[in-house]
């Protein structure tokens, strides 16, 4: 089975592919996402009450959980596009999976670094080998491994096939991470919002969280879009390099 390329990628030097490669990286969506993030930060810092038991550290919840959900969103895109690639062998799906994988790593890094900043004042320790924390660390390694693998395999179709399998397997970890607090005796708090019952926090805080999550998800999508555009430009340059080497 051959890899199906973008029509505008077929000829690297074609005006269509050159146009696609020279599109601006950051567009209106990125602008909207940045404004939404600034608004979410301001609301969380200045206009959301401080929780009585945990103090100001509870506000880390908004940035931490929003980053986690955005990472899951990005990894969901990786898995979906990996399936699409394995089915249709469409280069665009592989490029989108790659873009989402890179952005997922950024958000997972945010999760794994803001979590300990909450854990230290509340649990008294930066880290514990709790099921959820350990599984999230595994997911970070899997996502990093996915990107390292992509850089290590030269053949595009082999690279896309191998990384698609890892991308799907990495996303399969997400339900286990979510359910880990129910399946194991963990120190990590159980979901406050993503549960069948009513949210266990006041409406004011729920609004702040929802706003933060929407801003974070927008930023996630905008970054994936920007990274995809970078991928298009990179592939055009690679195709030109290959054509030049072939012509010599």
């Amino acid at each position: 089975m051959t890899t199906r390329a973008l029509p505008d990628d077929a000829d690297a030097a074609s005006p269509a592919s050159m146009g696609a490669a020279s599109r601006p990286l950051f567009d209106w969506l990125f602008g909207v996402a940045v404004l939404a993030m600034v608004a979410a930060f301001v609301r969380a810092v200045y206009f959301t009450p401080i929780e009585a038991l945990q103090g100001a550290a509870q506000k880390i919840y908004y940035v931490h959980v929003s980053a986690a959900l955005s990472a899951y969103l990005a990894l969901g895109i990786v898995a979906l596009m990996s399936i699409v690639y394995l089915w249709l062998r469409d280069e665009r799906a592989d490029r989108l999976a790659e873009s989402a994988g890179e952005v997922a790593l950024v958000f997972l890094t945010a999760v794994l670094t803001t979590g300990p900043l909450w854990g230290k004042p509340i649990w008294g320790t930066w880290w514990t080998w709790d099921a959820r924390l350990t599984l999230t660390l595994f997911l970070w390694f899997l996502t990093a491994g996915y990107l390292v693998l992509r850089g290590a395999v030269d053949d595009p179709s082999m690279r896309a096939r191998y990384s698609a399998v890892i991308g799907i397997l990495a996303a399969l970890l997400i339900p286990f991470i979510h359910l880990s607090v129910y399946l194991f005796n963990t120190l990590h708090p159980k979901p406050i919002l993503l549960k069948p019952d009513k949210p266990s926090m006041p409406n004011e805080m729920v609004v702040t969280f929802v706003g933060f999550f929407i801003a974070c998800a927008l930023l996630c999508v905008a970054l994936i879009r920007a990274r995809y555009r970078y991928g298009v430009a990179r592939d055009v340059v690679r195709a030109m390099d290959a054509a030049e080497e072939g012509g010599e």
């Binding site: 930060f41 401080i50 009585a52 103090g55 952005v103 900043l117 990179r234 055009v236």
Partner: protein
């Protein structure tokens, strides 16, 4: 940590968390922009070479 029976003062942790998240997201955006700019320069140089 406790201030007169009120909530504990844990504001330093949350300030660091928010600042770090902002640095991380902005940093990745800048890195992406830098990589794209380098690529565009290469692309422009190639186009000029092909045109001449």
């Amino acid at each position: 940590m406790l201030q007169g029976g009120g909530p504990p003062d844990t504001s330093a942790y949350y300030r660091i968390a928010y600042a770090w998240a902002a640095v991380l997201y902005a940093g990745y955006s800048i890195i992406l922009w830098t990589r794209a700019r380098r690529l565009r320069r290469r692309l422009a140089a190639r186009t000029r070479t092909a045109g001449s």
